[in-house]
Symmetry: C2
Subunit: 371 residues, 2 copies
């Protein structure tokens, strides 16, 4: 904060040999350590950075001087400017308040921290525009790498921001056409959806709705593809796919619409936390009971789901591990390795929210009369 003051006239190497006591901002710098130890700054730098070609004597003198002065280590800002490496990773996340995302961020942060990196977290709040501007921001801050869970894989802005930035990136459950060679951690959504569909079909369901999230992100696409494939593999099964948004509103509106239709589903798969809340409130509003009137499966674990009555069948994965894996992938890229993708499993855990449909061939009568 304090403006740099020009020092008298002693600019050259002819400075006075005694130790200069600078009252600057109280912080000890490397030069002071060098002076006290009677060695060159470069030697101090070598010792501190663990350079191999340093004599034991040198190492000791420098260490002692540093300790004596209470030196707190190199000014990272100066080191960053000099080397261009910030040991900082930028994480562009949709919304940290989503528990799934929060777990991913936690896993990533802990892993990065262990490797000496710090994470800058920026939320894009589901706005593709913001993804791009956050990427640009992080580029300006010279982050060494990027962890990306963008809002819209097809956004031109995002693609060009990424291209301009030219920073190693790891995609988190995203598939950017513009960045075909990027590293990525991917969930095997198909496995979970397929298992859930087969379970429901096995119970006798023939009309199954998938209320999916925002269209231009990988989880939505993968889930839809898997659900449709499962339906096609089982003649007579109708899969009603409804992409839209990862919001409570989409969950609620779509559920109401489905219930009101002549072909109401006997089972619903909610494609995310928020969607689930909407589905539950719509079902309650229409007084449909689970699983008597409709069976329910949700994607991604959410804290209290096990205490709902009935407990919810859930397609699970390990988000913290996803974050840790993403971090590892990025670290290995920064260490020079080639980009690579890592696929993590999802699995279906059934529960009492899934049961046989009341009347497999004719189950349009609700539990109570409705509009």
């Amino acid at each position: 904060m304090s403006p740099p003051r020009p020092r008298g006239g002693a600019g050259g190497p002819d400075g006075p040999p005694g130790k200069r006591a600078r009252e600057g901002d109280g912080r000890v710098d490397m030069k002071q350590v060098a002076d006290l130890a009677g060695v060159a700054m470069s030697s101090v730098s070598r010792v501190l950075s663990g350079h191999p070609d340093v004599s034991d004597d040198m190492r000791q003198r420098v260490t002692a001087a540093a300790k004596q002065l209470g030196y707190e280590g190199p000014n990272m800002l100066a080191a960053m400017l000099r080397t261009g490496a910030t040991r900082t990773i930028g994480f562009v996340i949709g919304d940290i308040s989503n528990p799934l995302m929060a777990e991913i961020a936690l896993g990533a942060e802990v892993t990065l921290r262990e490797a000496g990196y710090t994470m800058m977290l920026v939320n894009s709040l589901g706005e593709a525009q913001r993804d791009a501007s956050q990427i640009q921001l992080l580029q300006q801050r010279r982050v060494d790498g990027l962890l990306l869970s963008v809002t819209d894989e097809t956004s031109e802005d995002t693609a060009s921001a990424l291209a301009r930035a030219g920073i190693p990136a790891v995609l988190i459950d995203r598939d950017l056409p513009a960045l075909p060679a990027a590293s990525a951690v991917l969930s095997d959504h198909a496995a979970g959806i397929t298992a859930a569909m087969e379970h429901l079909i096995g119970l006798g369901h023939r009309r199954i709705a998938l209320i999916a999230g925002a269209p231009h992100v990988r989880p939505t696409r993968e889930r839809i593809a898997a659900a449709e494939a499962a339906a096609e593999a089982n003649p007579g099964v109708l899969c009603q796919v409804r992409p839209g948004a990862y919001t409570q509103k989409h969950g609620a509106d779509t559920t109401l619409e489905l219930l009101a239709s002549g072909r109401a589903p006997t089972a619903i798969i909610a494609g995310g936390n928020q969607i689930l809340v909407g589905v539950l409130s719509a079902l309650r509003h229409r007084q449909r009971r689970i699983p008597r009137d409709v069976s329910l499966v949700t994607c991604d674990e959410v804290p209290l789901a096990e205490f709902l009555s009935p407990p919810l069948a859930t397609i699970r994965r390990d988000p913290r591990e996803m974050g840790a894996t993403a971090a590892r992938l990025l670290l290995s890229r920064l260490a020079g390795a080639a980009p690579q993708a890592s696929i993590l499993p999802t699995w279906f855990a059934t529960a009492d929210s899934c049961a046989e449909p009341r009347s497999p061939l004719n189950d349009t009568t609700p539990s109570r009369s409705s509009a």
Copy 2:
């Protein structure tokens, strides 16, 4: 990354007048803009930083040159080194996977971002040691300010790390004896707890347990104080206070212990998200029904609570606003204002999880036999 190469002999102002094409790392720097515009670097700096004393002509020439070269703005690393300000805020959080914390972080990040600051997020995972080391880390990274939600207000390590760092800080629902003059956002826990206690007492409860969290943080202390005060104000009411940890295990263990005692409570207040999960599983395990066998209140909203049966009475607050307020407080401190505290409300929203105790004077019989 590329090592700096000494430039021939052209060090002084007598450099060749033509534009020098540096193939460095492809990035345009301010000097190139200055050269192309035929002005001094300092003028470019002034224009770019919006300095008032700049002629229109100058502004235009610089702007044009910058655009022509595709200049991406000042190298923030250099600016940071020079000015000492990083426009970065460090957030030491217990655990971002806690939805309450995540909301706070989101509120803070969005507000900081609007003010041109970026947030570094570090988790301390409930270990006081880590709080201290994270603070030190952030200090080394020269953050301009700190947002703190530390694990243990009494930790010596944290106190000394903070003292050494000497960085403006805003406490988030914490009260550090070591930092009496810090800014803080505080929740008025007493209001919510008092309202809940009075409601329970009004229903006829005489033995109310508060399963509180970790002992050395403000929310725990405030809640305990308010609960005890409410009990004392109502003769005949026994308040069973059980501090411990913000964990599922503490919630479960304590609930089991309370249920097994001769003086089992007729109402329980769970002091946090995680504790709630423990309480619910213990109650389920012992086959106690809510609210028939025990009434339940929880602190801090959690996504699916409204869909539990019965819906949970909850002491609420607005965590996103807390984060935003913390950010504002920090920004105003950085702008030179004196430290100040901001108190945000909490309120009690009752629900069917609270009812009259079955038999106010003798209600030790569980719904079903138990061990």
